[in-house]
Amino acid sequence: MSPCLVALPDSPPEPSEPQASAGEAVPLMLVRVGGRWFALAARMVEQVAVKGAVTRVPTAARHVLGVTGLRGGLLPVVSLEQMIGTVGPTTPGLATTLPRLVVVRAGECEIALVVDEIRGIIDDLPAGATAVPSGAGRPAFLAQEFEWQGRQVGVLDVAQLVAAAAQTPGGA
């Protein structure tokens, strides 16, 4: 298990929601997992890469697919779909590319998220972004959502996401 994910359980990171402070744009990277779209703070993304071979780690959590080698190091590969739940089937007509890995960093911890598509980077959070109502089914790392080109896009908090990846029952 990645020491990054092991060190997080007792000290969940603070939420790092993109702040729409006056005059400061928050670039967001739009990604698709299954039929749902999500946005990540671009500054939290280290890089994107092609999902290569993932080595399964025994006794790892279900959402932890394994580890992969990238830029000379090993990174845990996390399934966003497993963490979020039902994401729906891929809508026909969406551009199909090779599965991607979005390497995000929260402090000293880096994880690679598996996504189906990376649409691109938008300059800022749209003005109509709304908060996702809290409830039993709402993940902690999913706080806002907005509409973009007719699609509902959920804004992921990377720190919360990384913490959630470490806190899911079954993690080492």
Partner: protein, 444 residues
């Protein structure tokens, strides 16, 4: 020339035979009777003359003329005795007695015989008996007997014989009548039967000939039909050969098409591999552009140009990926179409091979049909020859039957109203025979 019925001829023949036999028998009887009567007369004459000689001889010995006369007078009234003359040895007539009607010269005076001599001369029976006793011949007794008794006997026999012959003739004629009836009736019956049978035979031969002609016509029609079938079979064989050729060419063409499609498929796979490589390059380029955009975003304002270039690169990559995806879709469509074409080609090959096999089977069956048709034609020829032979035999039978009928008619004519020299009866052939013979001659 008188016309005689066969029966009358038979009666006449029988009657003639009986008459001839009767006449012959009557003549024989007359002859026999004359002989017998003559022998009886001779016997009587010799007996009488013997007795007279015995009576006269003693008188002659003593020269007793009266005694001799009395002896002669004893037989004077004999019916047959015409004269009696006693002559001495010297030739002198010693005593004589004769019938009144005796003609001169009928008496014979001859004393030369030394023994009894019987002569027939001049219609009388002369008996010369020497009168001898004690070794001395005193003279000769000559008696003449009339043959009237013989003539009377013959005459009476002739009457009886004539009557008997006539009676026999009548009986014979009646028997002949009966026998001729027993002969003519069966002959007439046989003649009628022969006529009927020969006519039936002619009719049968005619019907057989008609049936044979119908059979020959049927055989000819069958042969014509078989020739049509053979011609059709030949056309089918030619068409099937053409179909076979087309099928074989189609098979070759389909195999060539399949080969070409396989080559296209191979090229498509290579193109797909190249597309995969291009896709990977495009994908890498996209990722590179994304990373570049990320770095540019993180650089803030200073990295805006870099971000723009990265965005362009992403669009270029996306365009390439879209083109690759489109090409891939197009190639998938092409591959699908080629697979369908290959499948269709294989189905066409299978169908063409099936057609080829069917065409070969048709050719084989047609060949067998042609051979069978030729055999049937040969059999038809054999049957036609057999029918022709049978018709010839039938015609011969009909001719024989006609001749038999003519002979039967002739026989019947002879029985009923025949001629002494019957005219030849023409043998009339049935019209069908004449026409059949003519047709047979023209066919040959």
């Amino acid at each position: 020339m008188s016309t005689l019925v066969l029966r009358a001829k038979l009666i006449l023949a029988f009657t003639l035979v009986i008459a001839v036999v009767t006449v012959c028998f009557a003549g024989y009887l007359l002859v026999q009777q004359e002989r017998i009567a003559g022998a009886a007369l001779v016997t009587r004459a010799t007996g009488i003359t013997g007795v007279l000689a015995k009576l006269v001889t003693p008188a002659m010995e003593v020269d007793d003329r009266k005694g001799v006369s009395d002896s002669l007078a004893a037989v004077r009234d004999h019916a047959d005795l015409r004269y009696v003359v006693v002559m001495k040895s010297s030739g002198e007539v010693y005593e004589r007695q004769s019938a009144v009607s005796l003609a001169p010269g009928e008496e014979l005076h001859d004393n030369s015989p030394q023994e009894r001599v019987v002569q027939t001369r001049g219609g009388l029976l002369h008996v010369f008996v020497p009168l001898a006793s004690k070794g001395n011949q005193w003279g000769t007794l000559v008696a003449g007997f009339s043959r009237q008794s013989i003539d009377d006997a013959i005459r009476s026999s002739q009457v009886a014989l004539l009557g008997g012959a006539f009676f026999i003739l009548l009986i014979g004629a009646g028997v002949a009548w009966l026998m001729s009836g027993n002969i003519a009736r069966p002959i007439r019956s046989v003649a009628k039967r022969l006529t009927r049978l020969s006519r039936d035979l002619v009719d049968s031969a005619r019907s057989q000939e008609s049936a044979g002609m119908q059979q020959a016509a049927g055989i000819e029609q069958t042969r014509h039909s078989m020739e049509l079938v053979l011609a059709s079979a030949q056309q089918i064989a030619e068409r099937s050969s053409a179909v076979l050729g087309n099928a074989e060419r189609t098979v070759a063409g389909n195999r060539d098409v399949a080969l070409r499609i396989k080559e296209l498929d191979s090229h498509a796979e290579k193109a797909a591999e190249i597309l995969v490589a291009i896709m990977q390059v495009a994908d890498r380029t996209d990722l590179l552009a994304l990373n570049a955009a990320l770095e540019g975003t993180k650089a803030g304002e200073a990295g805006r140009g870099f971000t723009l270039v990265a965005a362009e690169m992403r669009r270029l990559a996306e365009s390439v990926m879209e083109s690759v995806a489109g090409i891939r879709r197009l190639m998938n469509d092409m591959r699908t179409a080629s697979h369908v074409a290959v499948q269709a080609g294989q189905e066409g090959i299978a169908l063409s091979e099936e057609t080829t096999r069917s065409a070969r089977d048709i050719a084989l069956v047609t060949q067998q049909q042609r051979r069978a048709t030729e055999q049937v034609g040969q059999s038809m020829d054999d049957m036609a020859a057999t029918v022709t032979d049978a018709m010839a035999r039938t015609r011969q039978t009909a001719a024989n039957a006609a001749e038999l009928a003519a002979a039967a008619v002739q026989l019947g004519t002879l029985v009923d109203s025949g001629r002494l020299t019957p005219a030849p009866v023409a043998v009339v052939e049935p019209a069908s025979l004449r026409s059949g013979a003519a047709a047979d001659g023209s066919k040959r």
